[in-house]
Each structure stands twice: as structure tokens, then as C-alpha cells.
């Protein structure tokens, strides 16, 4: 299963580049710190949003995660990729907020602005928003493990093994949850 365990390459973030950036930020280089924020905030926020399903909470979780991660750079040992490490912190921050926020609400309509790919033309914007909203609602309707497995596999490009480490599961369980999630999404999106 080469494809499911292969390390994905990120064109703008090779491992050595990532290592240098982390080392520089740890040594106090403020521009390196800002570069880490710019590079990983998208992924951190996306993971938090998929877990929480709510824009404001996801922003709070993303902020907590970045603050905590950049404050704990000294504890990053390089055993996993920095991206996996910071995504785990994002998940922990989101779970922590989820526990505190027992007022699970319906996601407001404004949350559709989360979804990228919206054109300038009002007609195409309406169509795309509709499809984007369908995707969001469909994903949010999945059980958490299925939702995370699908999101981390497709949106974050992680392998089953990486996802398993991230959510404290097994590779086999992640694979099953991914396929169950996709099967349900096929019923909702096609």
C-alpha cells in the first residue's frame, strides 16, 4: 500500500526547510515565527473547523493551538513532521474548547464564507455557495471519527498511518472509518 503510507511532499516546505524554520523560530527569529504561522494556520484552522463545525470556536482553537505550539517549540523533537505535530496540538485545542463549550449550536449561515472557491459573479457565487454548503453540511453530518478520517485524508493529504497517530487510533480503524465516511458522502453529494 505505497499510496497510503507514502509521505506527501509539500512543494514549499521540504523537511529540511521546515527543520531550519523551526530551529530559527526556536532561537528567537521573529520572522521565522511569523512564517510558521503563515505556513500552518490554514491547516490548523481547517482541522479545528472540521472538528468543531463552528467558525468562532474554530478561530479560538486555531489561535490557542498556534500560541501553544510556538510557545512549546523546545518540546518538538522532530520524531514526526512539524505539520503532524502542530495538527495534533490543533486537535487538542479544539477538543478542549469542545469540552468547555457545551452549547453546541447550529452553524450560522455566515459560516458558508469559510469555503473557498467562491467567485465574484453573484450567480456563480450562489451556485458555489450552495455546493460548498452541501459539502460542509454533509461532512458535519458524519460521526466524528469518519469526518476526521475523511477530512485529514482528503483535505490534509495525510496517510492512514499519519492519521492514526494523530487521532490515537489504528491504521486499520482509520481506513475503515474513511471508507464508511466516503460511502455516506456518496449518498449525500452525488
Amino acid at each position: 500500500m505505497v499510496s497510503t503510507t507514502a509521505q506527501l511532499q509539500f512543494p514549499d516546505a521540504s523537511e529540511s526547510d521546515e527543520g531550519r524554520l523551526v530551529a530559527a523560530a526556536r532561537a528567537g527569529d521573529l520572522s521565522a515565527r511569523d512564517e510558521l504561522i503563515a505556513r500552518y494556520l490554514q491547516d490548523v484552522y481547517a482541522v479545528a473547523f472540521r472538528l468543531l463545525g463552528e467558525r468562532d470556536l474554530a478561530q479560538d482553537a486555531a489561535q490557542d493551538a498556534m500560541v501553544n505550539a510556538l510557545g512549546a517549540l523546545g518540546r518538538f523533537r522532530g520524531e514526526a513532521s512539524f505539520r503532524t505535530w502542530i495538527l495534533r496540538i490543533a486537535l487538542n485545542s479544539a477538543r478542549s474548547l469542545l469540552r468547555r463549550d457545551v452549547r453546541r449550536r447550529e452553524v450560522p449561515i455566515a459560516a458558508v464564507e469559510e469555503v473557498a472557491g467562491v467567485g465574484e459573479d453573484p450567480a456563480s457565487r450562489a451556485v458555489l455557495l450552495t455546493e460548498a454548503e452541501r459539502v460542509r453540511v454533509a461532512l458535519q453530518g458524519l460521526p466524528e471519527k469518519q469526518r476526521l478520517s475523511v477530512s485529514l485524508r482528503i483535505e490534509q493529504g495525510l496517510s492512514y498511518a499519519e492519521i492514526a497517530r494523530l487521532i490515537d487510533s489504528t491504521e486499520g480503524a482509520v481506513r475503515v472509518n474513511y471508507h464508511l465516511g466516503i460511502k455516506r458522502l456518496r449518498g449525500m453529494l452525488t
Binding site: Q9, A27, D29, V115, I182
Partner: protein, 169 residues
């Protein structure tokens, strides 16, 4: 990896749509999809999900930068050993000053050349309608005077003298 069956193909779809499959695997995948409508339907789901990634809200990056800077502070990244020692010494001095500070109920030694202040005891002063003081004590209001927990001990010597004169008149 040989993409010989549906399971293997479906496992590989996210990587295929991300463009991270090798040429041999891509060719095998294409051959399989040409013959398998079920896997083609799954391609469509993965494609739709990829087309609608979560977008970071405007302003979040700036907000995070501010939060990180506020939490850490630029100086903390650059604290050298001498700076840490200086900070520790300052802490010791501050701690010492706090230990030597007079405790509640303990009078700090005071050097004064002024005559001893006139002391008035609350018990020695007859009941008085405090509203009369409204014009005497600047800055007081009716509500403030009667709702306040201030006592005669809080008045200055001059204010006490004024009060005594008013009571005697």
C-alpha cells in the same frame, strides 16, 4: 503498488487527485476507472471535497500573530544568560523589599517636624446630620457621604478642625 482492485484504487484516489502518484500507478488507475463505474463515482466525491477546502477567515492570521506576540513577547526569545541573572537578582531584591515592608497594624517609623495632629474620637462627637457637611467638605455628594464606608479616621487634620468648629458653632 499494483492498483488491481477497487479497494486499492479507492485508497489511492486522494493521492491521485493530489497528483502524487507515480506514472505507472496513474496509468493503472486510469485503466481501472475506465472499466469501473463504481470507482468513478467515488472519484467524483473526492473531487467535490477537494474543491471546497476550508478557508481561513479574514483577519485571523493577524489576530494569531498578535496573540503569539502578546503571549511570548519579543524579548523572551532573546533572554541571554546575563539577562536571566539580572532578572533573578531583581526578583530577589523585590522579594526582600516585600519581606521588610510593614505588616498591617504595624506602624512604619515616621519622621516629622510638624506638631502632633489633633485626634478626634468618634465616641466623643455627638450625632450629627451629615448633610450639613455637604458644603464643608469639598468633593462629597449626598449619596457618596451616606453610602461611603469612610470614617473620621479618613479625614485630614484640616477637615477634622473644620468639623469641630462646625459642631461647636
Amino acid at each position: 503498488m499494483i492498483l488491481a482492485n477497487c479497494d486499492a484504487v479507492r485508497d489511492a484516489l486522494p493521492d491521485a487527485l493530489a497528483g502524487s502518484l507515480g506514472p505507472e500507478q496513474s496509468r493503472a488507475l486510469a485503466e481501472h476507472l475506465a472499466a469501473c463505474a463504481d470507482c468513478r463515482a467515488e472519484v467524483e466525491v473526492v473531487r467535490v471535497l477537494r474543491q471546497h477546502p476550508v478557508r481561513v477567515p479574514d483577519g485571523l492570521e493577524a489576530r494569531v500573530r498578535r496573540a503569539v506576540a502578546a503571549r511570548r513577547g519579543p524579548g523572551r526569545f532573546h533572554l541571554s544568560r546575563p539577562a536571566l541573572l539580572a532578572a533573578a537578582a531583581a526578583g530577589v531584591l523585590l522579594g526582600g523589599a516585600l519581606l521588610l515592608r510593614p505588616r498591617p497594624g504595624e506602624q512604619a517609623p515616621r519622621v516629622s517636624t510638624a506638631p502632633p495632629p489633633v485626634r478626634a474620637s468618634a465616641a466623643a462627637i455627638p450625632p450629627v446630620d451629615g448633610r450639613g457637611l455637604m458644603q464643608t467638605l469639598p468633593g462629597t455628594t449626598d449619596a457618596g457621604l451616606f453610602s461611603s464606608t469612610a470614617t473620621l479616621d479618613d479625614l485630614s487634620d484640616e477637615e477634622l478642625q473644620t468639623l469641630l468648629k462646625e459642631l461647636q458653632s
